[in-house]
């Protein structure tokens, strides 16, 4: 489909610009009194609905939106102060501004105004539509008949309204709220109520990209480990999971169903149970060390530093992640492995290729071709793999080198983000890290979507 054709697909004459250009007196007055045009031409219920929502909005605008927006540029001026009250001979606190609420209300206000603009445009289109119908003697539907179109031509509006409101309120608005915090100094020293925070422009990003500074260098180290982790966690899981699937798939292997079930059981146990447990098992006094001592491999006072030594801990999380992830890979690859055309293997056999050659020349290229997008999605998933790190090591071992000891040596960017915001209340820095995680995820995801045909050619299968 060419771009030009695509644009024409949904064109109707009922646009806002037509309403302004060709509208008659009622339609134009609808710009100020929403729904007047509808009301005058018999769409009473609709007209009243438009008008009441306009009145409601105006009331909100004066009582809530105007003060909220007025405070937004400064994020509050008067801090909470201690004042000595002469009559009671006590110190009292004056109620100051709460910057966090001001920012929140400001953003909610902007969303409400945007919602009103959408409503206003819908009202203009509707007014022009009913005018056009009246002029051309097209029957104007009654309110109930009009509602019925929402089950047919306008079904998408019925289906999407609630989900879209949900996404805006629970996903988009919070993200914008957090992103805007990246441009403030809302850190542990500026905690409302009591203290004010304010806009600081790009200061936090300067701090981040000043790699000589403590925060910037911590970011680089944590980013480096995040990428190393993601590469190993994804790559090893992929290779070993696929090998496992192949070994189980072999013609000669018996009890296939049994083996598969054993591995699937481990996926079914919630991660917070299995990972917390493994973390307990690997403690200095955990069962693994106890067993090693009892069998005489370790001396009675010795223990292996699975989660306490930096290098050990890093290797441990990658290996434990194999335990978590291999069954998943096995499940997803089993079916695809069966789909590899057997002729390829037969031809290779005739040519005298051994198992290793067939694996690297046939199986792996085929699998990479088919599961490439899956692989990159998993990679992005591992960059954001909060559970494994947080439940297993909690980011530890900690180090003095990192910014205010907010991160440990196994912390990923996401767990650091969690610690910055929840444990240390450096919301501005957390927001900056969140934006960086977004940028990294977006970069890798874009590679996937550029490559997959299913996004460009949705109807290819039908």
């Amino acid at each position: 489909m060419k771009k030009g054709e695509k644009k024409k697909e949904f064109v109707t004459g009922y646009t806002v610009s037509n309403a302004v250009k060709k509208g008659d007196v009622f339609t134009r007055l609808s710009m100020i009194f929403l729904g007047l045009g509808n009301f005058a031409r018999g769409e009473r219920a609709k007209g009243i609905l438009f008008l009441t929502s306009e009145v409601g909005f105006l009331y909100l605008f004066v009582s809530f939106l105007m003060p909220a927006l007025g405070m937004l540029p400064s994020l509050g001026l008067t801090a909470t102060e201690e004042v000595f009250n002469e009559t009671t001979q006590l110190y009292e606190y004056t109620q100051g501004d709460n910057s966090m609420l001001i920012l929140l209300y400001g953003i909610i206000s902007i969303f409400m105004i945007a919602a009103f603009v959408v409503l206003w445009r819908a009202a203009q289109k509707s007014a022009y539509k009913v005018q056009y119908k009246a002029q051309n003697n097209i029957k104007i539907l009654g309110f109930m008949q009009e509602m019925k179109t929402y089950l047919n031509e306008e079904l998408h509006k019925l289906l999407l309204t609630l989900p879209v409101i949900g996404v805006i309120a629970i996903t988009i608005m919070p993200i914008i709220y957090m992103v805007s915090m990246a441009f403030t100094n809302y850190d542990r020293d500026h905690q409302p109520p009591g203290n004010l925070f304010t806009w600081v422009g790009l200061d936090n990003f300067r701090l981040l990209f000043n790699f000589a500074g403590n925060f910037g260098s911590t970011f680089m180290y944590v980013l480096g480990w995040t990428l190393i982790w993601a590469v190993f966690a994804t790559g090893l899981n992929y290779i070993f999971g696929m090998l496992l699937a192949m070994v189980i798939n072999r013609k000669e292997t018996r009890f296939k169903g049994f083996y598969r079930m054993c591995f699937v059981v481990t996926i079914a146990v919630p991660q917070f149970v299995s990972l917390l447990l493994i973390s307990q098992m690997l403690q200095p006094e955990g069962i693994v060390n106890v067993v090693l001592r009892n069998t005489g491999i370790l001396g009675s006072a010795e223990s292996l530093p699975f989660l306490t030594n930096i290098t050990w801990a890093r290797v441990t999380v990658i290996i434990v992640n194999l335990w978590v992830g291999m069954p998943h890979t096995m499940l997803t690859t089993t079916g695809i492995l069966n789909n590899i055309p057997p002729e390829l293997y037969e031809a290779a056999k005739v040519d005298g290729a051994n198992k290793f050659v067939t694996f690297f020349k046939i199986t792996l290229p085929y699998m990479l071709h088919v599961t490439g997008p899956y692989l990159i999605t998993t990679f992005v998933g591992n960059i954001n793999n909060f559970n494994v790190i947080y439940l297993l090591t909690g980011g530890k071992p900690n180090t003095m080198e990192y910014y205010r000891m907010t991160a440990g040596k196994t912390d990923l960017l996401v767990t650091w983000l969690y610690k910055l915001t929840i444990d240390n209340r450096d919301y501005n820095l957390g927001a900056v890290i969140g934006i960086m995680v977004f940028a990294i995820s977006a970069f890798f995801s874009l590679i996937v979507y550029r490559r997959t045909g299913s996004y460009k050619n949705e109807e290819g299968f039908q």
Partner: protein, 281 residues
């Protein structure tokens, strides 16, 4: 031939070893849940004495850690969030797959971009927004949890849309010629044809509250009355509780894992079916 047999034996030994490695932690959970001695330290692999009291005390001694209450909380949250989010996801994915309207492509692109933000980056903000509308105190916290698990779910429709895309459009067209409205096509034709993906969506949505613990931790805070099982069990392993509650944690973990595992096995069956459906085209 002999060489093949040797390698075959080798493969089976290796697989058995792997199965052992994978099942040891699971077996460990079950064994410890029946262990009589308290505490996380254990000098032997197998418990010295067995008991059922870890399970009975989990239900009898509810003054500090009220496991039955957590179970109910999680169940209620799971039921409601499952209903709402299944409805949202199916509505959006059907609209994206079958209906054609102006905002379709932009909506899909926005959903893609939203998926790239780390999920809990917005968590703090959600917490304050919910607090702002008075949903962050008392039993309303559970309502807040339902909202968090379900209200934003409309953006995660890609798998379901992919499934709807594979259902032939000619059935829809035939129904429309017979006088069906698009709504009737949706619930009389598409929904009955999509059982595998619906079961998958419903079960996934139902399982999520049982295994999530980041969101629950932030929203519920320290009020033990409104804990979900995940945070409750997590709290049993904190430093001050671990000696007394370690074995009971294991008992609780077993009790939570059993229904989840059963649901997951069920889900597994449908995963395979949806996969097959997509290939058949």
């Amino acid at each position: 031939m002999k060489k093949k047999q040797i390698s075959n034996v080798f493969v089976h030994i290796m697989l058995s070893f792997l199965v052992l490695v994978w099942l040891v932690p699971i077996a460990w959970i079950v064994l410890t849940s029946f262990r009589a001695q308290k505490g996380s330290y254990s000098a032997t692999i197998l418990p010295k004495a067995y008991t059922l009291s870890n399970y009975t005390r989990l239900f009898a001694e509810t003054d500090i850690f009220n496991f039955p209450q957590w179970f109910m909380n999680t169940f209620i949250v799971a039921v409601f969030s499952c209903m709402i989010s299944s409805f949202f996801i199916l509505s959006v994915s059907y609209a994206m797959s079958r209906l054609r309207f102006k905002m379709r492509k932009p909506f899909m692109n926005v959903a893609l971009i939203l998926g790239m933000f780390p999920g809990f980056m917005s968590m703090i903000a959600v917490y304050y927004i919910l607090k702002g509308i008075g949903l962050a105190s008392g039993p309303l916290k559970l309502v807040a949890l339902v909202l968090i698990y379900s209200a934003g779910s409309g953006a995660g429709f890609f798998v379901q849309k992919g499934f709807f895309d594979t259902i032939s459009k000619s059935i829809d067209e035939a129904a429309i010629i017979d006088g069906c409205t698009k709504w009737q096509v949706f619930y009389k034709i598409t929904i009955p044809l999509s059982k595998p993906i619906i079961v998958q969506t419903v079960l996934n949505a139902f399982i999520a509250p049982w295994i999530d613990f980041i969101f629950a931790k932030v929203i519920i805070g320290s009020e033990a009355k409104y804990y979900t099982v995940a945070i409750g069990l997590w709290n049993m392993l904190t430093r001050e509780n671990i000696t007394n509650f370690y074995t009971r944690f294991m008992a609780g973990a077993v009790l939570v894992s059993i229904p989840i595992s059963l649901l997951f096995m069920k889900l597994q069956k449908y995963y395979q079916q949806t996969g097959a459906g997509a290939v058949k085209g």
